[in-house]
Assembly symmetry: C2
Homo-oligomer: 237 residues x 2
Amino acid sequence: MHTQVKCNNCSLDNICLPRGLSSHEINHISNIVKARKTLQRGEFLYRQGDQFSGVLAIKSGSAKLVADDSHGNEHILDILLPGELLGFDGISKNLYHCSAIALETSSFCLLPAHSIDQMITHVPGLARELFRHSGDKINNNNIHRVMAKRPAEERLAFFLIELSERLKTRGFSSKEFTLSLTRQEIGNHLGLALETVSRILKKFQQQGIIQVKNKAITIKKQDALRAILQPVESDLF
Amino acid sequence: MHTQVKCNNCSLDNICLPRGLSSHEINHISNIVKARKTLQRGEFLYRQGDQFSGVLAIKSGSAKLVADDSHGNEHILDILLPGELLGFDGISKNLYHCSAIALETSSFCLLPAHSIDQMITHVPGLARELFRHSGDKINNNNIHRVMAKRPAEERLAFFLIELSERLKTRGFSSKEFTLSLTRQEIGNHLGLALETVSRILKKFQQQGIIQVKNKAITIKKQDALRAILQPVESDLF
DNA sequence: CGTATTATTGACTCCATTCAAAGATAGTGG
DNA sequence: CCACTATCTTTGAATGGAGTCAATAATACG
């Protein structure tokens, strides 16, 4: 019998791992998942090259997923919001291929690597669930790769809409939010110069589409924002 | 006891699904995996929007993974070579998010979706294996996203090196190979105009790095090719 | 052999980057 | 609390890499 049950360690019911799992399965997970740890901005959830310690869930705050190339340039591959999972970059080689860094004071919990194998046997629903999440990451990545070909304004519009949607899913305001990212980081994530980010945000503001006050963003005209990315619209949501 | 055993349906031993599986497990898989089908260039292995039918393995030939946006533009997200797996885009929503299209006469086999759930229970080693492969795709995607920020020459150099490496892994020549892609398709995959692809291939040839004869590529100076992408080199291989 | 597709090459244009400098914000210690 | 510093942001001007347009050439295909 499938029920909506909290993961004992997780206040974010129904958006974290437990989805479509039986209460028996969730109890099993609750015993395995390690309770939250708290980190400050700039601290690492894990480091590129570290041994895979497991799949993590953000419980509060946010993080960035970063790949460092050999010249010390960082590439922000993903932004993680509360309830979202990370660590899939470590599965294939048992080493993390990216670093995960807190963007603000954040807490998270851990599904330890050494438990994953057992769980695949004992909690088949969870294996399916993890597999699904992993597939989600792939699809998401693909959308970003399609967007990477689009002009700067579309990329930024997409970034704002996607963030807004994801926050909404987690019960936060989709209209007003605070970016814990600098213009530099936004630009890095989108493959744009920080000046370009600044200019386009200003342009959107002048058009009355958004309100920008430092890192606080208010979306005034969601439709206008969506209209900017019409060309690839239907795929994305 | 773990042995190197062929999947009964697969001539590509050790590079396909069976890796680190017991012979018992592989026998189990052999009964489930559907034998090969053959397709001609341009035919679909699956279509964007189709119900997820399973994970596929290319046995011979090659395919492209394509996402169509709402304006009919196609985006080539991946190239699949013999022994490589595809279909992970269908796992999360039970619908394929991309289309897979044969680039030449190709054959493939199928691990059916309806078997995956059972197998997660009965062949835990396989669940782990699929999960690993899925993680591989994620890491690969990330490398491509990093490369997408680099200038055109590096992207093309990377494309050639990556292809060469992957062919080598599968026992094909890493120095000489035939691209089953048009300049248009290469450009699409790399986010470049087809004219740019043409110009850069010519430049590489003039530098003596490669030899281009229509779709046949010969790599003359692998080192020189690698040198072009020094800035991100160490991450990739 | 003729037609359609694909590839090459050149000229021009433009979007976004880079460079540069000034302005705002946040954080720190006196 | 204010001054001081470091970091981040804005804004302008100039540059350049890659795209677009256009015309020709080569190749593949029926």
